[in-house]
Amino acid sequence: MQLAEVPLLEARRLERRFGVSPILRGLDFTLQRGDVLLVVGENGTGKTTLLRLLAGLLRPTAGQVLFQGTPLQSSDPAGRRFTGLLSHQSHMYDELTLRENLVFAARLHGLENPGKLIDSAISAAGLEARADDRLGRLSRGMLQRAAIARAFLHQPSLLLLDEPFTALDTASAERVRAWLAGQAASGHGIILVTHQPSEVWDLATHVGVLAAGRWGIFEPRPPNIADFDRRYREATRV
């Protein structure tokens, strides 16, 4: 099998239970390079759980996650090198500065030329002026930009984002959208969980809706969001 044929990401019969109740009941899908998958759904449908499974933070109760054909295993750290997750929490320390947090992240990931990467991440986030302030002093919007910088400092090929536009003003959101477009264009895969698909509709190549732990909808992104909206409501009607 040629390298080009192996999907970037593949989930096979992915299941995850919380205690006894199943959150995900057997998900299958693949993601190719350059794909942008929007995952839409109500709270509690398992969107965050899905991202965490794909990032290797949770182990599936059943099923597998394959990254470029290799199964993801928590005992094999190298498998996490190519994935980056932006979650609701920043994974950073309030008492350290943004720069110190990024230096730590760089050391954890064993990055070459960390200084350069950190500088460019800081300027991409527009936080040069505040990079040496303690993180606890930054506003919510700045924190979100900082979190994005930290989550993707190691330039992963698979980007997982859980509601990235939270707390962002219009200008910052536009910058993030443009950056995401650039990531997809350079062949990285993106899975983005959002409450408001309209924010990134044009960027998406695929759309998925989780309902009762399975895909209620999973399809290439339709051109008309209103049409999707109607089917979304049908699919998630209890």
């Binding site: 290797g56 933070l57 928590s74 498998g79 979650s87 320390y93 050391r107 064993g110």
Partner: protein
């Protein structure tokens, strides 16, 4: 496929360990309250010991090793909860788990940081101990330092794993000593016996068995803890 910026190099094992430890140290030096409290706690325990015996009946010489080691034991426990408590803010621990770093490395990094803090606590306690209990170490100080290092590794190796477990419970500060104290018994026995002999100026041959016990305990438990840490942090 575009290559991410990361690289796997020869120091890939040591690097995350040192990174985690350095980060912990930096955070603690910035906050300071945790370490300061631990040091004060140890000093106060020493002071309480003084009042807990009749000075005409119990001589300093007999009492001293026990005092030192009970203080070190409880002082070490107090320094332990810091390590995983600080990772709860902003789900920082998830950041560690997301990285391409093995669970054993995370453990060893935390262990290293904990050892430094316990060491600082002990370093401050010893002069106070010498002062309060009129102990003359003489040339024994090197031996006592060695024994302290070995026994502290014993306490902290198991303590690091247990503190990672109890941080998820409601009464972490209480659960930790409840779980940990039985495990501190062998190193405590070894350390007290060795210290008694050292302070009495006994020859090395009498110490050898105890030192071996301490070293063996450390090797077994550091290895075991590093190998089972994944069970405590994977979900």
């Amino acid at each position: 496929m575009s290559d991410p910026a990361s690289v796997v190099s020869e120091d890939a094992f040591l690097r995350p360990i040192l990174a985690v430890a350095a980060k912990d140290l930096r955070l603690e030096l910035r906050g300071k309250t945790g370490l300061l409290s631990a040091v004060m706690f140890a000093a106060l325990v020493l002071i309480i010991f003084n009042f807990s015996r009749d000075i005409t009946l119990v001589s300093n010489v007999d009492f001293a090793p026990s005092v030192l080691w009970v203080t070190f034991a409880f002082g070490s426990v107090v320094t332990l909860n810091r390590a995983f408590h600080l990772e709860r803010e902003n789900a920082a621990f998830d950041g560690l788990r997301l990285a391409p770093v093995s669970r054993s490395s995370i453990y060893l990094g935390k262990l290293l940081a904990n050892l430094v803090f316990a060491g600082i606590m002990e370093l401050v306690t010893v002069p106070l101990f010498i002062l309060f209990f009129d102990v003359s170490m003489g040339r024994a100080w090197l031996g006592v330092a060695g024994v302290t290092a070995l026994a502290t590794i014993g306490f902290v190796s198991v303590g690091t794993v247990f503190s990672a477990m109890v941080v998820r419970t409601r009464f972490a500060e209480l659960m930790l000593p409840v779980l940990l104290l039985p495990f501190m018994v062998p190193p405590l026995i070894g350390a007290t016996q060795a210290t008694t002999r050292l302070l009495a100026g006994r020859p090395l041959s009498e110490l050898w068995g105890w030192l071996r016990l301490l070293a063996l305990f450390d090797i077994v438990f550091v290895t075991l803890c590093a190998l089972t840490f994944w069970a405590v942090v994977d979900e």
